[in-house]
Amino acid sequence: MSVSALPSRRDEAWRYSDIDAVTAAWPLPAPESIVVPAGGDFKRAIVQDAGDIRQIELVLGKGATASLHILNIGGAYGRIELAVTLHEGADFHLGAAQIGGGEQNLEIITTVTHAEPGATSRQMIRSVLGGTATGTYLGKVAVARDAQQTDSEQDVKAMLLDRSATANAKPELEIFADDVKCAHGCAIGELDAMSLYYLQSRGLPPAEAKKILLQAFVAGVFDGAEDEAQLQELALAKLGELV
């Protein structure tokens, strides 16, 4: 993942980035490296609230499991980049929400490599974007030639609160094995007008009605997180700023 030259928009992984912000932060420190040994279990919650560029390389040994939860909400430009390598029978779960308003540019970039047979990966990404904010998810799943019985899933949804906001979503599959299951779904939409009206007709002011719908939209991504309540609370507070 380490890039020696300064990235440009010609680089797929940096296509939607705030290149000025990247330039200012260049050179990036070496990616954080996490190795989960065979049979090990790893959990981490990441809250990006300061406009950082974070790169993490995660390797899961045979039969290891890892569960990552990400809340990407802060700074003018916030980027989280994950490179995950799965060995035989490993299981990777990612639940991520990015919530941005104003002119924020938030990105989650993942590359999940199924290097050996029987590994599973599940990614669930929810973006809520208002103002002229941009939220990007680029997720590549690579399945090596021997990695039969790979089971991977990408579930990507974005909610635009204003017509001026932008969501980019690109699930990408590179599959060299022939007995795999790689599901990917993507939807970008706006709040349902009838649901909003229904909630308001019961007495909820418009901002509260929006907040309750958005809370429901992102809620699932933090299921099973160690700090689930805290993540939900931070997400809710950020949603409150947008509505």
Binding site: S201, L204, E208
Partner: protein
């Protein structure tokens, strides 16, 4: 309580209500019947403030306030409840959470103290019992996976919890089997039949009116009330059809 005068309204620039007038006093139950396309649901949405339903002429006041000038949540806080013909499914939002927040938003708007979690659950349990809706269903996401009858009973549970002054019930009887119709009818009576409350029932059929006896029945056709009478008018309609009466 509710006074509608010469109301004209359009939906997507198409005129639907064309000079509708109606007055409802406290303690009264009114039924509006009429053929498909007469403007019954449009009337309920106009009174409920649904976006896209544009009033082009006339007025509607609720307890002396200009109803048409209020946002939907302000109408609710003022004591208006709209029972939806097609209650909306909202995945991920639990009934009890949404109702408690709604009730407390209304109470806040009226300058009242919020209801505590315990008191709210007690209230919710009481109203769910009244409508014979399992309390577990109230903890589930709003209307998701509910049958048609359960959705309508859930509307009535919401009405019981929110305790409005005026309920506009848009085809609350549609989609109900015979037993559920009786339960819903009893619910409406027990929640709303009070000297300080009023109900506007919108329906196609006489059958709900067997359980909730109206004081007045109106026939709505082509955007106006073309005939008003007592409960006997509903029976007459059932016997002779709208075409005969509305002609």
């Amino acid at each position: 309580m509710l006074k509608i005068e010469n109301l004209h309204a359009t939906v997507a620039d198409k005129p639907i209500l064309k000079g509708l007038s109606l007055a409802i006093n406290a303690g009264e139950i009114h039924a509006i019947m009429g053929p498909n396309g007469a403007g019954k649901s449009t009337l309920s949405y106009v009174l409920g403030g649904r976006p896209g339903y544009e009033v082009t002429d006339g007025s509607a006041t609720f307890d002396g306030q200009d109803l048409l000038d209020m946002d939907p949540h302000e109408r609710a806080a003022a004591g208006l409840f709209l029972g939806f013909q097609y209650p909306v499914e909202i995945p991920g939002v639990s009934n009890v959470q949404f109702l408690r927040e709604s009730l407390n938003a209304q109470r806040k708007a009226r300058g009242e103290e919020p209801l505590s979690g315990g008191d709210f659950l007690k209230l919710a349990r009481e109203k769910a019992g009244l409508l014979k809706l399992d309390m577990d269903m109230l903890k589930r996401p709003v209307n998701v996976g509910f049958s048609g009858g359960e959705k309508k009973r859930n509307e009535m549970v919401q009405m019981g919890i929110l305790d409005p002054k005026l309920a506009i019930l848009d085809e609350t009887d549609s989609g109900l089997d015979i037993d559920a119709l009786r339960v819903v009818g009893d619910g409406i009576n027990s929640i709303m039949r009070r000297p300080d409350k009023a109900v506007l029932l919108i329906t196609h059929y006489q059958r709900l009116l067997d359980y909730v006896q109206p004081d007045f029945v109106h026939v709505l056709a082509a955007g106006r009330i073309v005939k008003s009478g007592g409960p006997e008018l509903a029976l007459e309609l059932e016997r002779e059809g709208y075409a005969e009466i509305a002609a």
